[in-house]
């Protein structure tokens, strides 16, 4: 099978599967090794974008999924009025950001950063499968350790956790700047 045909079959497979499909499974079906497939997938995703096809492929961790373009939302909504989008509250988003960057993290650390208790926010995030319990810390009280899920990546259109928007390294910066200002 030439590369073009592989791409074509991939479209078909993702269409049939509907749900996120792991690259290992694609590799098994197509009999193409994961590394090569990975670069073919990248090309295919770019092709679809470049040619402004009506469908796009998203990637998160090792999963690929085919879906519609966000900017076609208004048109598609006219046909399919069932999509209810529940966006997260600011408190949940704030909590989620902390978990995303600092994972694995325990609740008391989240609370300390936010300056408020985060129980309810964490509960919501777990319910929506954006956050999961990773285990417990072996110390007094055995606090639960939290981390983000694959749903989290998909929800925010991230390929992996490394794609989170950059934030300044505040620990270093605050120290430096602070000392600097201090000396003035």
């Amino acid at each position: 099978m030439d590369k073009r045909e592989v791409k074509s079959v991939i479209e078909g497979l993702l269409f049939v599967w509907g749900d996120p499909l792991n690259i290992m499974d694609l590799s098994n079906v197509l009999e193409v090794d994961v590394k090569e497939l990975s670069s073919i997938m990248k090309e295919l995703m770019d092709d679809l974008d470049f040619n402004r096809r009506g469908l796009r492929i998203i990637k998160f961790n090792d999963y690929y999924q085919i879906g519609t373009r966000p900017d076609h939302y208004e048109w598609i909504k006219k046909l399919n009025n069932k999509k209810n989008t529940r966006n997260l509250s600011n408190a949940s988003l704030e909590t989620l950001s902390i978990i995303a960057y600092k994972q694995p993290i325990i609740k008391s650390e989240i609370d300390a950063i936010r300056g408020v208790r985060s129980d309810k926010a964490i509960e919501t995030l777990i319910e929506r499968e954006l956050v999961q319990e990773l285990g417990r810390l072996e110390r007094t009280g055995r606090p639960i350790i939290y981390g983000t899920t694959e749903v989290f990546l998909k929800h925010f259109g991230l390929e992996s956790i490394d794609e989170l928007p950059e934030i300044e390294d505040f620990h270093k910066e605050s120290e430096n700047e602070y000392n600097y200002n201090n000396d003035d």
């Binding site: 049939v16 999509k83 499968e129 991230l158 000392n179």
Partner: protein
């Protein structure tokens, strides 16, 4: 000095503090602690006046601010760092916390934008791949247990997160009292007692619940049933009156 703030906006003391700093266009690394402390306390007073619940977190922060304020009046503590003596600023720790918190707040804003975009994507359900399976007679021996097991399996599997289902538009629009009364009477013809919860099913809409409830009241009025409850808010026992009671 009085400081007007929109009370509900703040998610906590850090959020409030950051807003105060932003409004004043102050350098976060050089906070005029007197002014900020006063404004923070003003805000708490205002919350009190409005009878809003002041969570302990706000009080802890107020105490921290006052402590820093008083330390600022004292000669600065000194510490050795890499063999060099440096002055410790009492604001140091708070500033670090604020900077960190602000960073996450900004990230949350960015995530919010991507969330909006990604929520506009539609996906499709999987095709029925069982067409590739060997044809088996799936519906061979049907019994109620199998049906129940099937629906329970679906329920337990289901991530009821995003889905999509709006049964509202499908529901019948009206539930007449007569229908509900009939349905209750049928139940009571088979057993002398039925629980209110047993009248309702998974498909029961709010309107239907109300209709059932009104029917019960009507039947009580007609003296064809009486009702009992073990305690407040518990399930309602609906009991048929016997011939002699009538």
């Amino acid at each position: 000095m009085s400081y007007k703030v929109e009370v509900e906006v703040f998610k906590g003391p850090m959020d409030l503090l950051l807003s105060l700093i932003k409004k004043q266009e102050i350098d976060i690394y050089d906070i005029p602690i007197n002014i900020i402390t006063d404004q923070f306390l003003d805000y708490i007073n205002e919350m009190e006046e409005l009878n809003l619940e002041i969570t302990s977190e706000f009080l802890v922060m107020a105490a921290t601010l006052i402590e820093i304020k008083s330390k600022m009046l004292l000669p600065k503590e000194k510490a050795l760092e890499d063999g060099v003596e440096i002055e410790i600023d009492p604001r140091d720790e708070l500033v670090q916390r604020l900077v960190e918190y602000e960073a996450y707040r900004e990230v949350a804003e960015k995530l919010k934008e991507s969330e909006i975009i990604e929520s506009k994507v539609f996906y499709k359900p999987r095709e029925d791949l069982s067409i590739f399976d060997d044809p088996v007679e799936e519906l061979g021996n049907l019994d109620l247990d199998k049906l129940l097991i099937a629906i329970n399996t679906i329920i337990s599997r289901k991530d009821n997160d995003e889905d999509l289902i709006d049964f509202e538009e499908l529901h019948r629009e009206e539930y007449t009292l007569n229908e509900c009364i009939n349905s209750i009477n049928i139940r009571l013809s088979k057993s002398s007692k039925v629980l209110f919860s047993e009248l309702l099913s998974i498909r029961t809409s709010k309107e239907e619940v109300i209709a059932f409830f009104l029917s019960i009241l009507e039947l009580v009025r007609l003296k064809s049933i009486y009702i009992e409850q073990d305690e407040s808010f518990s399930d309602i026992n609906i009991i048929r009156r016997t011939e002699e009671e009538l």
